[in-house]
Symmetry: C2
Subunit: 354 residues, 2 copies
């Protein structure tokens, strides 16, 4: 595994080492906006089959890289594989998003929660990581990922997606000990899961805290950030003599960027609401930043995409430490040509800042 990467710009940017341009990848870059992805998914029969089949997961992971000169690949998977492996029974009801057959709706089910055996229950994920890493053949680095304990717990307690998180917040405010028990077990599971991905070949890992932004300041610190910090501290940060950077991304977490940077992570993900120049002033001496284009910009023209790209690059300013990305997953309604325009704009326009 100790061969040299042809393009390690992404890893260098995460470690704030000099680069020739600003590297980029796009959250959910292997997704429904690509017709080739839709074709593979159709062949798989279901989204879960696609996640659970390492051959097909490898295929879709590589698809965006064949179209665009992206600077990183990200494992194709779903954040809910972890609670599924914990026995909650993940399924996707057509047009309704993810659901659990056995959500945590009772004290007994919460107390019975156990971290999964990663080596068996999530073997299909680590197999996919190894296979993708091999298929990439040193072209660009592979990112592994997991949901944050808070975000996973939202789904586990709500039983699916939620607008207001009423059930999980009621539990959090009325039975904080039970809530902490769920988070504790989930944090152990996520730590083991990410370490297994690193051992299987992931060259950077990212924690997606999609719903941390739904919390109050104090609840975020206590119920989301504390557990992400514990995970960061429990991760293997080097594999085969090479550093493995960790990215923490709380959507809607701009207000807490300093606390997130203090977890010990290498980079902080930013959605599009916070100006990246202000973010850099606050934490740029500690961490790299990843973001922060509003994915809706990709609905506009190539000219508008270029203008917004330049705005973000200029706001970040000179020097390394920025990985360009969207502030959230790419929309299924995006025209792939506009994604191509973004990749070109970032690569071209960023050179003058390096």
């Amino acid at each position: 595994m100790n061969f040299k990467l042809k393009n390690d710009t992404f890893l260098r940017a995460l470690l704030r080492q000099p680069t020739e341009y600003t590297p980029l990848w796009m959250m959910r870059q292997a997704g429904r906006y690509l017709p080739e992805y839709c074709a593979t998914r159709k062949r798989a029969g279901s989204f879960l089959n696609l996640c659970k089949n390492p051959d097909m997961a490898t295929e879709v992971t590589l698809q965006p890289l064949e179209r665009f000169p992206l600077d990183a690949a990200i494992l194709f998977s779903d954040i809910l594989t972890v609670p599924d492996a914990m026995g909650l029974g993940l399924y996707f009801a057509e047009g309704e998003g993810p659901k659990f057959e056995r959500p945590l709706h009772s004290e007994a089910s919460i107390k019975a929660l156990r971290a999964p055996d990663i080596g068996t229950d999530l073997r299909y994920v680590t197999d996919a990581v190894s296979q993708i890493r091999k298929a990439l053949n040193g072209s660009v680095p592979l990112i592994g990922f997991s949901g944050s304990p808070w975000t996973l717990s939202c789904y586990m307690v709500e039983g699916g997606s939620s607008d207001d998180y009423a059930r999980v917040k009621t539990l959090m405010y009325t039975e904080p000990k039970l809530m902490h028990h769920i988070l504790e077990v989930t944090a152990q599971a996520v730590t083991q899961y990410l370490n297994a991905q690193i051992e299987a070949g992931a060259q950077a890992v990212m924690i997606f805290d999609s719903w941390g932004g739904a919390l109050s300041h104090y609840a975020f610190l206590e119920f989301s950030l504390a557990y992400m910090q514990r995970i960061v501290q429990g991760l293997k940060r080097e594999q085969d003599g090479v550093k493995v950077p960790v990215i923490v991304f709380t959507k809607g977490g701009g207000l807490w960027i300093e606390s997130i940077a203090d977890t010990g992570c290498d980079a902080v993900g930013l959605d599009w609401t916070m100006d990246i120049g202000i973010a850099r002033q606050k934490v740029g001496h500690k961490v790299a930043l990843q973001g922060n284009l509003d994915p809706s910009v990709l609905f506009a023209t190539p000219e508008a995409i270029r203008a917004e790209t330049e705005r973000i690059l200029a706001s970040y300013g000179y020097g390394s430490g920025h990985v360009f990305n969207l502030g959230h997953g790419i929309s299924q309604f995006t025209n792939p040509e506009n994604a191509a325009a973004l990749v070109q704009a970032v690569h071209e326009l960023s050179r003058k800042y390096h």
Copy 2:
């Protein structure tokens, strides 16, 4: 109209004058969590009938004040009365939220947009304001309100609620001039509308920028904040020799609190994501703050409600300038007894800070 208020604590807090305790009201305090509201709404036949009938709007505005010793009343109405008066044809499809019959889906419809004649098209609102003010009989102040131009435009362009604002953001990024035209006309309408409410008896006004938080930093400044600033500057700030404070509330706007405070408003509304003590450090010398309890706390026990209330009061600290509120509208699933527990907790626990 120049009689003295029995309880002007709310107005004094907004003007950062000394008070004996921290006043409070609750966003959407006249709403579906109250059985008496549901009864009146049933009698009205529809939500729109309720809004458009000043007798019934008065009745529901007063209902929460009969239950709880709140420190302010807020006009019962809907932010979408303004686009409705602009000819877009507001209706409520059962279980689907608000919709427009004639959304702004073409350049021609955008160019044809005109500010309504408030005196005729929105007469039912100013009539309700006069009637509520009279019915309150000087007990507590009456708050008038409007949606922000950006928030109203989201609905007008999308044609209803939206998860991702794809249509309005596409317009904003591809046709910024058309977007500015909508915002310009809407800002004129909102200014006239709020001034008409002030003339009819509203003793404070609030601008609800419910969707400003969906924008990028620069888009927020250009497409939402600039228009709210124009409105604040165009408002009558005094009526019958008494100051009329203005509150600006951008949900998810914590990152921009300093810019919001610079609009010239008297108070900034806060959702629950930003710590109010940090907010006060940033802007407390300029404006009062209103907020910031997560409405989900009201799903918990009276003890938890009390603990979270104390946390917010302690974080704000000593002195005037805080109006306690939820960070968003009260949920229809709230037990009214928990709302009562909140009101009691705020009134009791806040005295030591004054």
